[in-house]
Symmetry: C2
Subunit: 348 residues, 2 copies
DNA sequence: ATGAAAGCGCTAACAA
DNA sequence: TTGTTAGCGCTTTCAT
């Protein structure tokens, strides 16, 4: 290993001078010395030791990317193109600014906190955490911390940095799209029923759906909200599938809160002789492979995951640089309606 | 920050003793002291500093996960469920053994090497690298290094650790499956034509296809290999799509080298009124979402990506522990045929 | 413009 | 069984 001492010897200067050159503190170094030192670094192939730097400088240039690992129908949170797209985008941003990315699943918050301390990371980017984990994390560290799709209790939102979606607006827009195509009886379909009650993206999307219907004088009753049950409960989902078959006549369109569920139900319906969109229309939310690969492709609200990652990373890096939460720390990205072939236009 | 000095003071011992307790060197520490020290660590919430440890111990407990970032039809290597599943599995293994995972895209090998040195990582896991990058990496570092799906020139295979698939056997098995269902005129379909010539998974799968056909006295001519062109060239792919329509009569089945391409072509065919498997059968390779979500679901060879990641991680960790390449350093995992609905059984 | 010296938190060889 | 000491590579303060 080549150290600054080696460079100093090679260049015939003290290692303080080398350090100064490395950090661009040129004010007190002569032109000639700079060149000699830089030559020596090139020649010997000097690479700084992060351990040594970290030890003395109290910073690490390390970003922790912490993800929850909820079970999404047999796969973990990370085992999904959403996660990898996000991670990829974050890695790029982070690396472009000479930071490094440490990846960590959050089994329990303790482990994460221990990692944060032991490596003295400069900041934490968290996604897929439960509200509980998020809260705990927030309260246990004063490191710069940015959430992606964080879920907060009312009133706590402003306390931390977050990058999410304008879910309510998007939910309303999607509903309006259906209404414009002649649909009135539009069910809101989701996986976990609890998500309708607790704060979060699902609930927001539902509130958008409600608001749009309300605008047209439609007040959905409770049975307009169809719950499939959590990802991890295939039995219950199956029951919901069949229950839906009995109720198809009640609706002209189904608004699924996410594409994965939409694709699942779409395939179920097709397999059971229901024509989509001939017999019923449906739309999803997210704009991922599930929507893209289904036939017909699912009409959906597309979110730009790459952008989400970029923005979250930039927010965090700014947070770190300023050592203060940026003013615009609560970002809600808009979505784009992406037409597939699952929506029929109804005759008046 | 709590240091071992603080612990030493709190427990009323020297910090060497603390260090000894931390590392379980109990031989020379009295029972009572151990307990006092452990008490103090709990009470003060001691967390070791990796910087300090790394500086003195010359190891980091850091694994670099390096991935190439080839363009797969508009998305990068990482932006795919394959990558995230792999990463997730690796992270788990690594963390279970108290190692940490550093993620790094490989734009150029220099950057990776610099990262490896600057953090003094204990080992490197590489996937999605080009043969060139792989070779360069191998020659530039003597750190423990394990490839996933590495591609090597003949003769160089034994020089490094790799976890891949038994592609040739799987290719043959798939072809035999088709033959057993009455198919004889089976085309081999791939994206990048160059992959048929250079060593690698695609070529291996093709060789398996050839071998199986050969067993039945069938010698495919060159035009039995259909090339769609690289992912990044949609124009050319489109042309290939239409060219295929003209030649459908030449084959009863198409063996696609990967599911993504298979799904693309399947959808193209369906959109143009070709019935699958009525008019033509097709199969894919990988067993990912593309195969699963298509309708009909694509019959494919499923690879267990999670297992791939686990095994690669374990191999690397063993490599690190032993500080020598494990004997079984060339793993070829088998695949499993996964039936979908894209293969018809032909009447004799 | 350059250098000497102290010290970051920790490990390990050696001393007591 | 416990403590002392040196030193890992680097940054930073203070002298020169």
């Amino acid at each position: 290993m080549v150290t600054i001492k080696d460079i100093a010897r090679e260049a015939g200067v003290s290692f303080t001078t080398v350090s100064n050159v490395i950090h661009g503190r040129y004010q007190h170094v002569s032109r000639a010395t700079i060149e000699r030192v830089e030559r020596a670094m090139k020649d010997l192939g000097y690479v700084p030791s992060m351990s040594a730097r970290g030890l003395v400088s109290r910073t690490s240039r390390l970003i922790a990317l912490a993800y929850g690992h909820r079970d999404l129908g047999g796969r973990t949170m990370l085992e999904d193109a959403f996660a990898s797209t996000l991670v990829g985008a974050v890695e790029r941003e982070v690396r472009a600014r000479q930071y490094y990315l440490m990846l960590s699943a959050v089994q329990n918050t303790e482990d994460l906190l221990q990692m944060v301390s032991t490596w003295n990371v400069d900041g934490v980017l968290a996604f897929g955490l439960s509200p509980k984990e998020g809260k705990l994390l927030r309260e246990s560290t004063d490191k710069p911390l940015v959430f992606v799709d964080g879920v907060f209790l009312p009133g706590e939102e402003e306390l931390c940095a977050n990058v999410g979606l304008a879910d309510r607006a998007a939910g309303a827009e999607m509903t309006q799209y259906l209404i414009a195509r002649g649909h009135r009886r539009i069910a809101f379909c989701c996986g976990d029923g609890a998500a309708l009650v607790r704060p979060g993206a699902t609930r927001e999307r539902m509130l958008g759906w409600e608001a749009a219907l309300h605008q047209w004088g439609i007040e959905p009753t409770d049975n307009w909200r169809i719950v499939w049950g959590p990802d991890a409960d295939p039995e219950r989902r199956k029951a919901a599938d069949f229950a839906l078959l009995e109720r198809l006549g009640d609706f002209t369109a189904l608004f699924f809160e996410n594409d994965m569920l939409a694709a699942h139900v779409l395939n179920f319906l097709l397999d059971h002789g229901v024509r989509v969109p001939g017999d019923i229309s449906l739309v999803g939310f997210d704009g991922n492979d599930y929507a893209r690969l289904s036939r017909p492709a699912i009409t959906t609200m597309r979110q730009d995951v790459r952008r989400k990652g970029e923005i979250a990373a930039r927010l965090l890096l700014q947070y770190i640089t300023d050592n203060a939460m940026p003013t615009e720390h609560n970002v809600r990205l808009s979505c784009q309606l992406q037409e597939g072939g699952t929506v029929a236009t109804l005759k008046p």
